[in-house]
């Protein structure tokens, strides 16, 4: 993808290539500094949630669901996934990311291939399960909408549908893969 755009740029506008790349990495640096500030706040709060034992309670509450969806059996991993999903639902994706990364590390089996639970976590995060699209509502309100919140219902319906489709698809593909593997062994 990068090579293709570089080749096109070579023909269209060769002088822009380096400056564009540096511009983009400057943007990335700015984003990371911003993220760092955001993570300080969220990781601080998350440590409190952990230390007070609330995260274990949350994990216990979500355990049946997580077990069914992720097929994991490890209280530490369950806790991280529970925190990640709760943060997503609250619409604070920035708090979800650190937990997601830790959960991915806990799920990693060092085979170099993504396993079922890792793919599930990425797909669930990628289909966005937030209950309140606060940023979008805010943008819409500032653009002068008469009822900025009237997109909540359709957003909720779509988001729930795609998340369920994602979960079912990952489960379905995993079953297919097992079948194919089983046949190869025969």
């Amino acid at each position: 993808m990068m090579l293709a755009s570089m080749l096109v740029l070579l023909i269209v506008n060769p002088s822009a290539m380096l400056s564009e790349m540096i511009g983009a990495s400057t943007e990335a640096l700015e984003l990371c500094i911003e993220l760092c500030a955001v993570y300080v706040v969220w990781l601080g709060f998350i440590e409190l949630i952990d230390a007070s034992g609330l995260s274990n309670k949350l994990a216990k509450l979500l355990r049946p669901l997580i077990k069914k969806i992720f097929k994991v059996d490890n209280s530490e991993t369950e806790r991280l996934i529970a925190l990640n999903i709760s943060a997503n639902m609250l619409g604070v994706g920035n708090a979800a990311t650190p937990m997601g990364i830790r959960a991915m590390q806990a799920l990693d089996d060092k085979t170099g291939k993504a396993n079922f639970a890792m793919i599930m976590l990425v797909v669930i995060n990628a289909t966005s399960i937030q209950l309140l699209p606060t940023t979008v509502i805010g943008l819409r309100a500032s653009a002068g909408s008469e009822n900025p919140a009237d997109i909540i219902l359709p957003t909720l319906i779509v988001t729930v549908t795609t998340t369920i489709i994602g979960i079912l698809l990952v489960h379905g593909i995993e079953k297919l893969r097992k079948k194919i593997k089983g046949k190869k062994k025969e």
Binding site: E27, G44, G112, I119, N125, T127, S145, E146, G166, I173
Partner: protein, 168 residues
């Protein structure tokens, strides 16, 4: 309403921690310590994907793709005005929010196109960014079917969003 949710949760958390006799300050600092290391670890990955996106845009490949895909999206019920938004959404959060603002201003916040755009933004995520960052700290080299499934869900979501906005 929604503005109160997080602050109230924070306050409840602090009250609960004090009730549990925890040293809130020490624990907060301990957690916050991890922030810089985390950002340093993920920075190269974020930078690489942002460079790739910038090259895609400036080389004109995205606008070319937009033209190519508009009729297909239109046939699926997605307004052609939103093709660029739908295309960029999986790659960049800030870029797609900027496009959303454009759409809101150009077509009016309460128009059908704007409402579609809002629902699409609300129910989708920056898939490539999420996958890059999440897998960045693992040993995984093969993502298998993670991205195709996520993209498929996103496309279904986009079509459903435009359909629902006609009814609701």
């Amino acid at each position: 309403m929604s503005a109160y949710i997080l602050p109230i949760l924070f306050i409840l958390l602090f009250i609960y921690c004090i009730y549990k006799r925890l040293n809130t300050y020490d624990h907060f600092v301990k957690g916050a310590k991890g922030a810089i290391k985390l950002v340093v670890d993920i920075f190269p990955f974020i930078a690489s994907i942002m460079i790739a996106v910038a090259l895609l845009r400036v080389s004109g490949i995205t606008s070319w793709l937009t033209q190519l895909l508009s009729p297909i999206f239109n046939a699926l019920g997605v307004p052609p005005e939103l093709t660029e938004l739908v295309l960029l959404r999986p790659f960049t959060g800030s870029g797609s929010y900027a496009l959303l603002e454009d759409v809101l201003v150009t077509y009016g916040a309460d128009s059908y196109i704007s409402r579609c755009a809002c629902v699409i933004m609300g129910c989708s995520e920056t898939i490539f960014y999420v996958a890059t960052v999440y897998f960045s700290q693992t040993k995984v080299k093969k993502l298998l079917y993670a991205i195709p499934v996520a993209l498929l869900c996103s496309i279904v979501g986009t079509i459903l969003a435009c359909l629902l906005c006609r009814v609701i």
